[in-house]
Every structure is written in structure tokens, then in C-alpha cells.
């Protein structure tokens, strides 16, 4: 088997006297998609930041393959309105790159039409793809994506995830992603790591779904065929259009 891109062993992170991560082991191999799931405050983002070297481990280690190139796609990024910056220029800031490579990366991420737009004017979903293009410019061996589904609607999510799967196939890079989507994304992942401070369980998606700790965390929503229940401040008409009013559980099959 190819050596792991990253290999975290016994990773513990304490911040302000609180233990955020407790002896977490995590491994990502080339060509593998690993998804981190877990409730809010489970330490998913902290784990990602520790892998990236943005948070120091209190104990344990994160080993990276020598010279590993990481492409990081943060949850969101806001550029101060006072800074005049087009998308193309934004992409050129991180390393010396040619215009042709920027054009290619924008195409690969599906946002070539945004090249000349001020970076502050692109929408949340578009910005995520711009950030994906930015990550691709570093020719990454490991893509790290923090909640790529957050700013995107269901359709956009499937689209973005499709792109990530293609990248994994064409480039052979490993993917580590944090996701809230217990269905589409989780099902198409090689390995799922369910986190709640410590690693509750991990393995193939179907194994994790059957695990008692996973079921305890996500309750009735854990079933593969269950509907995805969440709180809404609006309701849906029969055609799916959003209509105001109604605060309560809303079910999507």
C-alpha cells in the first residue's frame, strides 16, 4: 500500500483548559476520500487545522509525507472591500503562476466566467469553487476541504462533490473533508470518521451507519434511508418552492 499522506497518532488538542480533541488517530492515503462527521463542537475543524499545522497538538503527532503539497479550501473567505482584487489576481497571490495555469484551474473548477470579477462580488457557492481553483494551482497531493457543502445548495453540493471525485480520479490526490451531509457525501466516501472529541467510530460508510455510537449521536436520522430532518424557518410548497412561515421540522426524502 502507498504510504499515508498524513498520519496523525494520538492527537490531543487542549485550548483554554478544554480538551477539544482526545487521542485522535487519522490517516489519509493517496486517492482516498476520508470524510469527518460529527455534531457541532465535535472538533472537526480543529482536527483539520491540526492536520494543516495551524493548531499545535498538546500531545500526539501529525506526520506528513515529506514535501507533501496540501491544497486547503477553507469554509469561507472574505476579502476586505477596500482591496481591489479580481478573481484572477486573487489566484495569483499564493505562488508564482502563469496566466495560462490560472485559466486552466478556473476551468477545472467550473468558474472561468468569474476571472475578471472583483473577488468580493462572487456568491458563496462561486467563492467555494474559486477556492477550489486556488487549491488546484498548488498541484496538491492532498485536498483538505472544510465543510464544502455549507454555502452551497443541494444541487451545488452534488456538483461540487462530483468535481472532487473527478479530481481524485484524474489527479490521484487524497481528500480529507469535513461534511454535514450524512447522505450523498457520506455514501460516496471511502472512509468515514465519526468524531465527538474522540473518534467514535470509523470505517466504510455502511459500517459506520450501523455503529451504536453513530446512531446515538445522530439518532433516527442515522438510517441510510431515513429522511434528513432539520429545522427550517420556512416551509416548502408542493413544488419545492420556499414559502414563508412555519417553524418546525421539515422533511426531505
Amino acid at each position: 500500500m502507498a504510504p499515508a499522506l498524513i498520519d496523525a497518532k494520538g492527537l490531543t488538542v487542549r485550548l483554554g483548559g478544554r480538551t477539544i480533541l482526545d487521542r485522535v488517530d487519522l490517516e489519509v492515503r493517496p486517492g482516498e476520500i476520508v470524510t469527518l462527521i460529527g455534531p457541532n463542537g465535535a472538533g472537526k475543524t480543529t482536527l483539520v487545522r491540526a492536520v494543516l499545522g495551524l493548531v499545535r497538538a498538546s500531545s500526539g503527532v501529525v506526520e506528513r509525507r515529506r514535501g507533501l503539497r496540501i491544497g486547503y479550501m477553507p469554509q469561507r473567505l472574505t476579502v476586505d472591500a477596500t482591496l481591489p482584487l479580481t478573481v484572477r489576481r486573487f489566484l495569483a497571490l499564493w505562488r508564482p503562476v502563469t496566466d495560462a495555469r490560472i485559466t486552466a484551474a478556473l476551468e477545472e473548477a467550473g468558474v472561468s466566467h468569474l476571472a475578471a470579477s472583483p473577488v468580493q462580488t462572487v456568491s458563496g457557492g462561486e467563492m467555494q469553487r474559486v477556492l477550489l481553483a486556488r487549491a488546484l494551482l498548488g498541484d496538491p497531493e492532498l485536498l483538505v476541504l472544510d465543510e464544502p457543502d455549507q454555502a452551497v445548495d443541494v444541487h451545488g453540493q452534488a456538483e461540487l462533490f462530483g468535481r472532487i471525485e473527478t479530481l481524485r480520479r484524474t489527479r490521484g490526490c487524497g481528500v480529507l473533508l469535513v461534511s454535514h451531509d450524512l447522505h450523498t457525501v457520506m455514501a460516496r466516501t471511502d472512509r468515514v470518521l465519526c468524531l465527538n472529541g474522540h473518534v467514535c467510530c470509523q470505517g466504510a460508510p455502511e459500517d459506520v451507519r450501523r455503529h451504536p455510537e453513530y446512531r446515538a449521536l445522530f439518532g433516527g436520522h442515522a438510517d441510510a434511508l431515513a429522511v434528513y430532518v432539520h429545522h427550517h424557518d420556512h416551509a416548502h410548497a408542493s413544488d419545492g418552492a420556499v414559502v414563508p412561515g412555519h417553524d418546525g421540522d421539515c422533511c426531505h426524502g
Binding site: L52, Y72, D80, T82
Partner: protein, 262 residues
């Protein structure tokens, strides 16, 4: 034209040229108040310079750098909000400077000149220091340009890309310290920040790239120096404040100019 007017013009334009790009960064990084704090500490640097028998400009750069380091340390503790920390450092360092100068009995300094600038009394030696400091600051900025922009956009991303974020931040503070030391004689320590941020703020609406904004800020700054200096000579007004008023007028005028919606 008299020699002193020529020297004043050369000094003012030189500073405005450097202040454009550096001031743009101050605006992008939201560090206006930080610049003010550094400038306020300059008086303490002057006093220390006299005390140690070195050029006051060296004292100013030294104190500014020490203050910048203290600030980074205090920020890391996160016990107080940044603006509170800046407020404490800004006013205590200014007062400390005033007290120190009062203590140095042998030292007779023109306090008003340090606080508000005395551009018409710029000597050839001053001019040399201003241009040396200005050139160093501009050169450093050009060298770090792309990486400083990256750090300004997002520190985490820059760090993941392997950029030395802390070092870049410190280098930027050092550049500001250099400009403050060089500009002290022109507009005085109480008004220096305005020369950094007003031309840059005026340039924002007309710029589509960071470089265009930096260059236009320099042009606006030079225009403000020329306008301020002319009115100062014409109506016998104080030089530093006249330059700042000219810059403010330019800023107001820039708001009136319609810019096509992009």
C-alpha cells in the same frame, strides 16, 4: 523659488510617494489605529535618541519596533480587545515621550514641530535621511509585495502555503516605522497616519488592482503636498496641517466624482 521651498517640496513629495503604497496596505489591513499608535510613540524615540547620543530617527525606528513587538505579544494573550491595547499603548507612549523630553533639561526641542511637523525647516541632511528611509521602505515593500498581499487576504491560507506569516507581519511593521521616522519632520507625529490613509482611501474607488490603488494614492499624496505647501506659503499657514487639509479636500472631491458601476 527659495531653497527652503525646494527642499520642502522634495521632502513632501518623497514621503507622499512612499506613503501611497504603504498607506494602501494600512487601509487593506485595517491598521489605521495601529499606525497612529506607532506614530505617537515616536516622540519617546526622539527623547531616547538624544539621551543615547544617536540620530533621533534611529531612536524613533527603535521605539516603534519595540512597540510593535509589545503589541504582538499583548495581542497573543487575547485578554483585551486590540483597540483597547492600542489605546493604552498609544496614549501612554505619547505621554511618556512628553515627560521624557521635559526631564531632559539640556534638550531644547520645538515640541510643536515634532507634533505637527515643520516642513519649511527641512535641511539637506534631513532630506538625505528622508530619502534613505523612504527608499528602504519602498524597496522592502516591493520585495515583499505579493506575499504581503497574500497575508492580507488570509493569514491561514498563507500559512498553509508555507509563508512566514509572523515574519511578514513584523517586516510590515518595520516598514511603517521607517516611514513614520522619515515623515515626522513633514507633518508631525500626530498627523502622520493621515498622510498614509487619506490618499489611499481616496484612490480606492478609481482602482481595479492593488497596484493601481497604490500608485494613485502616491499621486493623490503628492497633489496634497503641493496644494498644502502652496497654501501654506500663500497664506502663511502651518505646513503639516495644510497638507492634511488638502488631502482631506481631495478625498471629499474624490467622493463626488461618479464612477461607473462595476
Amino acid at each position: 523659488m527659495d531653497d527652503f521651498v525646494l527642499r520642502a517640496l522634495a521632502a513632501g513629495c518623497g514621503i507622499a510617494l512612499v506613503a501611497g503604497p504603504l498607506g494602501s496596505f494600512v487601509v487593506w489591513r485595517r491598521m489605521a489605529y495601529f499606525g497612529d499608535t506607532l506614530a505617537h510613540s515616536a516622540l519617546l524615540g526622539v527623547a531616547l535618541g538624544f539621551l543615547l547620543g544617536v540620530n533621533p530617527l534611529i531612536g524613533v525606528v527603535g521605539v516603534c519596533v519595540a512597540l510593535a513587538l509589545a503589541l504582538v505579544g499583548l495581542q497573543r494573550r487575547r485578554a483585551l480587545a486590540t483597540d483597547t491595547v492600542l489605546g493604552i499603548l498609544s496614549h501612554s507612549s505619547l505621554s511618556l515621550g512628553l515627560v521624557a523630553i521635559a526631564f531632559l533639561e539640556t534638550l531644547r526641542v520645538d515640541l510643536v514641530a515634532y507634533l505637527f511637523g515643520d516642513i519649511l525647516s527641512v535641511t539637506t541632511t534631513d532630506l538625505g535621511w528622508i530619502y534613505a528611509g523612504g527608499a528602504a521602505a519602498l524597496g522592502g515593500l516591493l520585495l515583499l509585495w505579493r506575499r504581503l498581499l497574500a497575508v492580507t487576504v488570509d493569514e491561514d491560507l498563507a500559512r498553509v502555503e508555507g509563508m512566514p506569516v509572523e515574519a511578514l507581519r513584523l517586516a510590515f511593521m518595520l516598514l511603517i516605522a521607517l516611514v513614520i521616522a522619515a515623515a515626522m519632520k513633514i507633518v508631525g507625529i500626530l498627523l502622520i497616519t493621515s498622510l498614509l490613509i487619506i490618499p489611499a482611501a481616496a484612490a480606492r474607488r478609481f482602482s481595479r488592482t492593488p497596484e493601481a490603488m497604490a500608485a494613485l494614492a502616491s499621486v493623490f499624496g503628492i497633489a496634497a503636498v503641493l496644494g498644502g505647501l502652496l497654501s501654506s506659503l500663500n497664506w502663511d499657514l502651518p505646513g503639516g496641517p495644510s497638507i492634511v487639509v488638502a488631502a482631506a479636500a481631495l478625498f471629499l472631491a474624490s467622493m463626488m466624482v461618479p464612477v461607473a458601476n462595476r
